[in-house]
């Protein structure tokens, strides 16, 4: 019923063209599968919740014109003024902007662990009692900082804070899952007083992302940053207004780097986004090239065999049988390409795992790729096959 035998014999006699299409299909499958796999991973990374109220929050830097240590009283004055603004939900001090890829880290471990055991590199935010609220984090257990918890010091004095709030993720890493961390000590002698909902912190692209600790601390000799969370819809207006408010309080300083958290987030994920875009474009283009290539070649084959097709039709083959002939032929070529392509896709992924720290390919992507490429091949063959079916049986009777 199916013309496997004749098709195979025909293909064998004209094998170069078929081989080339097969090779092209294989490469296309390998590229599409791996590209799709990378794209979904990157997209998942970008879509991770940040934990902070990123749509309504911005930061700015405050650089005094005069050198010398900063006074916490001045900062408190600014904080009171900002928190009184009607459109400000909460404002606090931070040492670095969340999602900005720049900040501070420290190695932490539970105090009952020996040095070297259970150490976690953590992202440290120096902030104040309003910090938790400004980040938009929820307190899951324990208590928030109070004004009395603040440690005001120069980084050179070596005075350390006494309390901290850790994220759920960090608490699990430091003390184990399900262990209540409240009241426990982490080195160097800092007591955990609260557990906050998870956030990515300052380094979205690093292993440290999510291992976040807040400490109530103000360094008098460090750069000063304010974090300001505003009511929905007020971001642009407040990003203009707040610098003016601060300048009116004291104009002997430069207010700079006024940036929204969304803009930091965009910068942090820019290279992932670029990779996604470039891979997507490549996927579309390669499908087009391969699809059109198959259309072109099948059309040529159809044209070459018009006489044979006419003869077949004259001998009683239906239009459907002619269409089926070309689809089966196409299926055999594409099928062989897919088998080769699966091997190629796995091999390429193996190389990427070895050299570029990629993950191992999940079978689902291979299966999806196989279906997609098969459909592409079928669709591309449909039009030429239909053209073939239109060949009139009378062609066979015409003189050659």
């Amino acid at each position: 019923m199916f013309e496997f035998g004749p098709i195979l014999r025909t293909l064998w006699r004209n094998k170069t063209g078929a081989l080339l299409i097969m090779l092209q299909t294989a490469l296309t499958l390998a590229i599409v599968v791996n590209a799709a796999f990378i794209i979904t991973q990157r997209q998942a990374k970008i879509d991770r919740p940040t934990g902070v109220d990123e749509a309504n929050t911005f930061t700015l830097s405050v650089i005094p014109i005069q050198a010398g240590d900063k006074h916490y009283a001045d900062v408190e004055r600014d904080m009171i003024a900002l928190n009184q603004l009607p459109d400000v939900v909460s404002a606090s001090i931070v040492n670095s902007a969340p999602l900005s890829s720049s900040g501070s880290t420290n190695t932490m471990r539970a105090e009952d662990n020996k040095p070297g055991i259970g150490e976690v590199e953590s992202n440290v935010f120096n902030t104040d009692q309003r910090g938790l609220d400004t980040f938009g984090l929820k307190l899951l257990a324990g208590r928030n900082f109070t004004a009395n918890d603040m440690t005001v010091t120069s980084s050179l004095d070596g005075k350390t804070p006494t309390v901290c709030i850790v994220t759920r993720q960090l608490a699990n890493k430091l003390f184990g899952k399900g262990v209540d961390p409240i009241g426990k000590l982490v080195t160097p002698g800092v007591q955990v007083i609260g557990v906050a909902s998870d956030t990515i912190g300052a380094y979205p692209n690093s292993d440290v992302a999510g291992d976040v600790v807040l400490v109530p601390q103000f360094y008098t000799n460090f750069n000063l940053r304010y974090l300001i969370r505003v009511k929905p819809g007020q971001l642009d207006a407040m990003m203009k207004k707040v610098p003016d408010v601060l300048n009116n309080l004291d104009n002997q300083r430069v207010i700079t780097s006024v940036r929204s958290l969304l803009s930091y987030k965009r910068s942090a994920y820019r290279s992932d986004q670029a990779t996604i875009s470039m891979l997507s474009v490549t996927m579309v283009l390669i499908s087009l090239v391969t699809g059109l290539g198959i259309v072109g070649l099948t059309l040529l084959w159809v044209n070459q065999r018009r006489k044979q097709i006419g003869t077949r039709r004259a001998l009683g083959a239906t239009k459907l049988m002619v269409v089926r002939y070309f689809l089966v032929e196409n299926g055999i070529i594409i099928g062989a390409g897919i088998v080769l392509g699966c091997a190629l896709a796995l091999f390429a992924n193996h190389l990427m795992v070895q050299h570029y720290q990629m993950k191992a390919l999940e079978v689902g992507y291979l299966a999806g790729g196989v279906v997609a490429v098969w459909l592409l091949g079928l669709l591309a063959a449909l039009m030429p096959a239909w053209r073939a079916a239109q060949v009139s049986p009378s062609l066979a009777t015409r003189s050659v």
Binding site: I31, A35, A274, G293
Partner: protein
């Protein structure tokens, strides 16, 4: 003969416009994609200090605790910066022709002209050899005196841009600016130094280590200067003494300084390597270092490699783009082959009329080359378009340098031609070897 073949090619081109357009498009798209990603990689992997690659060396010392903790930014795992005591000690050596200890700093700058608003600038705290070692020309004035590298002197070399910002077009040498409220004498104005990637300092990103002003290295103690770049402090049992305050930081094993030396001959390099090895052994004996070796000198090219300036993604995309180009070439081979075979009867007639095999081969190769040339021209256009799109995607600091230079333009054209010839050789050969009799019979 050539023009005749070209005419034949053009006729055949017109004979099957859809097919020809498909082939041209495949080559164009393949070349376009391959070249835009290759240009991206080429830009990122360029070495801005290539002309002094055999003279300049970045210094790394292995100050890590023996348990391997500490930052791992570089491929060799050795810390990417030096601690202050090591920089001070290395500056004592007279082996290098030039040497630079430096780090990033920042602050406010105030012009004597009250109409000009104070601004935030990024600065480089450095020894005076910076300008000669990196070949940064001075537009006005000079660099500070050698003594300013060890003793605080409030002198500054402005970048051209900052000078224009603060003083307009006039020569500011001898005038004064305030930095963080402290008056500094402007001793010179340097040309803007913006190598891309910023090989000289890769610690805060590969395209961002450039400065608006330069101040002497001797200012640390008078100003209690804290870096604006990265600082990592090593744990472990290396706290020698209990010095508090800023002096304590200077004596600590916190790393925050970059160090470059210029060594002009292999003999000089060998001597310096010996000096570094001895220094590390000595520090180990004194208990400051927990390891007794691990002094590494890297050329600018090696230093770019150590810092992974070309990201995994860029390399991956380049591989992918070339796999894509391969698909396009295979596609074109298949189409050309099919097309040529269809025209085989004509070739058969030509052969029967006396055309040699090589003549038939040349004729068809020229037709493939025509596909390549048109595809290539279109491909260059597509690559340029691709780069416009890529500039929208990457960080602004990188977008500024993503351009196709004449070299890449030539590579693109060459690639298109090679691709089309590759695509044409086999079909042309196949058609030239068919026996004329076979096709004549079927006529």
């Amino acid at each position: 003969m050539f023009s005749y073949y070209l005419r034949l090619a053009w006729l055949s081109f017109k004979g099957s416009p859809v097919m020809s357009a498909l082939m041209v498009l495949a080559i164009a798209v393949g070349v376009g994609v391959a070249m835009s990603t290759l240009t991206l990689q080429y830009v990122m992997s360029s070495n801005a200090l290539a002309d002094k690659n055999d003279q300049l060396y970045y210094v790394q010392l292995d100050i890590r605790p023996s348990d391997n903790s500490g930052p791992q930014h570089t491929r060799n795992g050795i810390p990417d910066q030096l601690a202050y005591p090591d920089a001070e000690a290395l500056l004592q050596s007279d082996i290098p022709t030039r040497q630079v200890a430096m780090h990033q700093w920042g602050g406010t700058i105030t012009s004597p002209n009250p109409d000009i608003r104070p601004a935030l600038i990024s600065m480089r705290v450095t020894t005076r050899d910076f300008f000669s070692l990196f070949d940064v020309p001075l537009l006005y004035g000079t660099v500070w005196d050698k003594s300013a590298d060890t003793q605080g002197q409030y002198q500054v070399v402005l970048s051209k841009r900052t000078s224009q910002q603060m003083f307009g077009e006039e020569n500011p040498v001898g005038k004064s600016v305030e930095i963080n409220g402290q008056p500094y004498e402007v001793v010179g104005v340097a040309a803007d130094f913006e190598p891309a990637p910023s090989v000289q300092d890769l610690t805060t990103g590969s395209f961002g280590g450039n400065a608006d002003a330069y101040v002497p290295f001797g200012l640390h103690r008078p100003l209690s200067l804290m870096p604006w770049g990265n600082m990592s402090c090593m744990g472990g049992g290396s706290d020698n003494g209990n010095t508090e305050g800023y002096e304590g930081l200077l004596q600590s094993n916190c790393i925050w300084l970059q160090y470059w030396v210029q060594l002009d001959s292999p003999e000089q390099k060998a001597r310096y390597q010996q000096f570094l090895a001895n220094y590390v052994k000595d520090q180990h004996k004194q208990g400051r270092f927990e390891r007794d070796q691990g002094a590494v000198l890297s050329t600018p090219a090696q230093w770019l490699y150590q810092n992974r300036v070309v990201g995994n993604d860029t390399q991956l995309l380049t591989w992918l783009a070339f796999a894509f180009l391969l698909v396009c070439i295979i596609n074109t081979i298949a189409l050309l082959l099919a097309k040529f075979l269809r025209m085989a009867p004509q070739a058969g007639v030509r052969r029967a009329l006396g055309a040699s095999r090589s003549a038939v081969f040349t004729q068809h190769l020229i037709e493939s080359a025509l596909v390549g040339v048109i595809g290539g021209l279109l491909g260059i256009g597509l690559a340029l378009l691709g780069l416009v799109a890529i500039r929208q995607l990457v960080a602004p600091s990188m977008a500024a340098i993503v351009h196709m230079d004449p070299l890449m333009m030539c590579v693109t054209a060459g690639l298109a031609l090679v691709a089309s010839l590759l695509a044409g050789v086999y079909p042309a050969w196949r058609i030239s070897t068919t026996t004329p009799a076979y096709y004549l019979k079927t006529q």
